[in-house]
C-alpha cells in the first residue's frame, strides 16, 4: 500500500504539541454518594507523529481520560477539571458546537468493540459518508466515491460492494478497519485509539496495528493508544504513561520502560506477561490482589497494598505527604518512594526480556 494519501501536516509542524493534557481530573458524583475521582491530575502531551501509550488495568481511568479529552462524558454528574489543549485551544469547558466541529474533523477516536460501535441497521456506506458530509461539505455522490477510496486505503477488498453491506456481514477485522476509515476520513491531527485490538484475534490485531502505523504514525498524526496490552505498547508507542487508580505512576520512553521498569507496578505488569521461551510448568507471575485493593491517593500510594516493595513511608500518615510524580532520570518520571533498582550495567536487567 502506498501512502501518498492523507495530506497530514507532517511531523515537523512546529514544536507545539498537538495535544496537551494538564492536571486533568474527572469526578463522578451521585446524589447521596461519595464522589468518585476516576482521573486524578493526569498530564501528558502528544506531538505530531508521536504515539503515546496509556497503559493500565481495567478501571484505572484510561478510557475516562480519553472520553474527557474528546468531551464525550455525560454532562450530568460529571465534573471535569484541569486543562486539555488541542493545538493550543482549550477544550475543557468549550462549547458543544466547538467540540462537535473538532470531533471527527481534527480529532477522532476508535473504540474497543468494532461490532457495537457500528450501527447495525445502517449500511457501512452511509456510516462512512455521513462523516464526510458533516465535515467536508461533500455531496452524497462525492462522499460515496471518497468512501470507496477510504475503505480501499484501509485494506478492505471490494470496497464498492462492502459499502452497501451491514456491519454484521463484515468480519471483526474488517469492521475495525471500517471504523478506522471513518476516523481517518477527514485526516485528523489526533487519533485516540481506545483498546482498538482487544476484541480481535491475534493475527488480526497485528494487521490492525500495522494499519495504524502506516496510516497514522507515518503520516504525522498524533496517536494516543489506550491499552492494557504490553505487546501493543512494545510494537507501536514512542512514549508510555502507566496509570494506576486514576494517576500516572510512571512515564518513560518505550525502550527505557521495558528495559528497566522503575515502578513495582510496571515491573509486575511486565513480569506477568506469559513467556513462550520459559520452561514448562513455571508458574505465571501475577500481581497480587486486584485493582479494587487500591487505597485513595490521599492516604498514600494507591498501589501500596499490592506492592512487594511497600514500606511504612508509602502511607501519607507516616511520610507526611502524598507520593509525588517526580523526575527520574532523563525523559522519565516516577511516582514511587521505593522503586525497583538495577545494577549499573543494564544488560542483565530482570524484566528486559518481557518486551516481546
Amino acid at each position: 500500500m502506498t501512502m501518498e494519501v492523507l495530506p497530514a501536516d507532517g511531523p515537523a509542524r512546529g514544536d507545539l504539541p498537538v495535544l496537551e493534557v494538564d492536571d486533568l481530573t474527572v469526578t463522578f458524583s451521585r446524589r447521596g454518594e461519595q464522589p468518585t475521582r476516576a482521573v486524578d491530575g493526569v498530564g501528558f502531551s502528544v506531538a505530531a507523529g508521536e504515539t503515546v501509550g496509556l497503559v493500565g488495568e481495567s478501571g484505572c481511568g484510561k478510557s475516562v481520560t480519553s472520553l474527557a479529552i474528546m468531551g464525550l462524558l455525560p454532562e450530568r454528574g460529571v465534573r471535569v477539571g484541569g486543562s486539555v489543549r488541542f493545538g493550543g485551544q482549550e477544550l475543557v469547558g468549550a462549547s458543544d458546537r466547538t467540540l462537535r466541529s473538532l470531533r471527527g474533523a481534527d480529532m477522532a477516536m476508535v473504540f474497543q468493540d468494532p461490532l457495537s460501535s457500528l450501527n447495525p441497521t445502517v449500511s457501512i456506506g452511509t456510516q462512512v459518508t455521513e462523516v464526510l458530509v458533516e465535515h467536508r461539505d461533500m455531496s452524497r455522490k462525492q462522499a460515496a466515491a471518497e468512501a470507496t477510496d477510504l475503505l480501499d486505503r484501509v485494506g478492505i477488498p471490494d470496497p464498492a460492494r462492502r459499502l452497501k453491506e451491514y456491519p454484521h456481514q463484515l468480519s471483526g477485522g474488517m469492521r475495525q478497519r471500517a471504523l478506522i476509515a471513518m476516523a481517518l476520513a477527514c485526516s485528523p491531527r489526533l487519533l485516540i485509539a481506545d483498546e482498538p485490538t482487544t476484541a480481535l484475534d491475534v493475527t488480526i490485531q497485528a494487521q490492525i496495528l500495522e494499519l495504524l502505523r502506516e496510516l497514522v504514525v507515518d503520516t504525522g498524526t498524533a496517536l494516543v493508544m489506550i491499552t492494557h496490552d504490553l505487546g501493543v505498547v512494545a510494537g507501536l508507542c514512542d512514549r508510555v504513561h502507566v496509570m494506576y487508580a486514576g494517576r500516572i505512576i510512571e512515564s518513560a520512553d518505550r525502550h527505557d520502560l521495558f528495559a528497566r521498569p522503575r515502578q513495582p507496578y510496571t515491573g509486575g505488569l511486565l513480569a506477568s506477561v506469559p513467556r513462550l521461551d520459559g520452561a514448562r510448568g513455571v508458574p505465571l507471575h501475577p500481581i497480587r490482589g486486584s485493582a479494587r485493593d487500591a487505597i485513595p491517593w490521599a492516604e498514600g500510594c494507591a498501589f501500596a497494598p499490592r506492592c512487594d516493595n511497600a514500606q511504612d513511608d508509602c502511607l501519607t500518615e507516616v511520610a507526611g505527604s502524598t507520593v509525588p510524580l517526580e523526575y527520574d532520570g532523563p525523559g522519565r518520571e516516577l511516582r514511587c518512594r521505593h522503586p525497583l533498582t538495577y545494577p549499573s550495567t543494564p544488560a542483565g536487567a530482570t524484566a528486559s526480556g518481557a518486551a516481546r
Binding site: R103, M109, D113, S116, S117, T126, V131, E134, Q169
Partner: protein
Amino acid sequence: MTAVGEVKRRRIDELAARAGQVPEGEGGVSLTKSAVRRLRRDPVAITGAVIVVVFLVVAAFAPLLAPRDPLAQTLLSEIRPGFIPGSREGFPLGVDNLGRDTLSRLVYGSRQSLLIGVVSTVLGAAVGMALGVLAGAFGGWVDTVVMRFVDILLSIPGLLMAISISVLLGQNQYALMIAIAVTQVPVFARLLRGSMLAQRGSDYALAARALGVRRGRIVFGHVLPNSLSPVIVQATLSLATAIIEAAALSFLGLGDPDLARPEWGAMLSTAQDYLSIRPELAVYPALCIIVVALGFTLLGESLREALDPKFRR
C-alpha cells in the same frame, strides 16, 4: 500417493473456485429489497399477508360479496322471544334477533371494523411516537414534561378514557376512532422513549458523537431506526385491541350511532343477550376479530424480523 494427490488437487481447485463466488442472496443488497425477499420466503409472513388481504378484499367488495342487504329484516314471522331461527337455505349463518342476515352483516362489518382498527392505531401510533421521539431525543426537562403527561394518560383506565372522550366529542365514528387512539398514545410514547434511551447509550451512538455527527442526525439516522422494532410489534397488537375496544364502546352504547353501518364489536355485544338461544351469533364476529388480529400480528412479527438485518438467516 498419486491418487491421494489427485483428490487433494481437485478439492483445492473446487474450494478456490467457490471462494471467488459471492454467496447467493447476500452482500450488497439494499435493506428493503432483502426484506421483501425474506418476507416472500417466510411462511408466517405469507399466512399473515393472505389473511389481511382476504379481509381487505372482503371489505372493499362488500356490496358484491354480501348475499343480502345487511339491514333488511326477514323471517320476522319466525322470531319469537326465546327463539331465533338458525342457518338454513339462503341464510348460511342464520339471522340475528332482528332478522338480519348474519353473513351479510359480517361482510359489511369488516369495513367498519378494519377502518376503526387501522385508523385509530395509525393515529395513536403517530401521536405516541411523536411524543416518544421528543422525550427520547431531547431528554432532560422535555423528557420529564412529556413523560409526566403520558403518565397522567396512563393512570386513567383505557376504557374510562375512551368513554370520556367519546362523550366529549359526541357520538360519531370519528369520535370513536379518536377515543381509541388516545388510549393507545401512552403505550407507544413510553415504548419508543424507553427503546431510544437504551439505544442512545449504545456504543455506536457514542462513536457517531466521537465523529462529530450532529444530534439530529444521530437521533433520526441512528437511534430511531434501531428503536422501532418493538413499536412495530406493538402496532400490530394494538390493531387487534382497537377492534375489541370499539366493540366494548359499542356495547356501552358509545359506538357508532349510525345503525346503517354494521360492525363486529356491536354485533358481538348484541349477540351477548341471546347467548343462551343462539351462541353462534356471538361466535361468528368474535372469530372474525380473532382471525384479523392474528393476521396483523403474524404480518407485523415477520415484518419486524425481515427489517432487522441481524435476523438474516
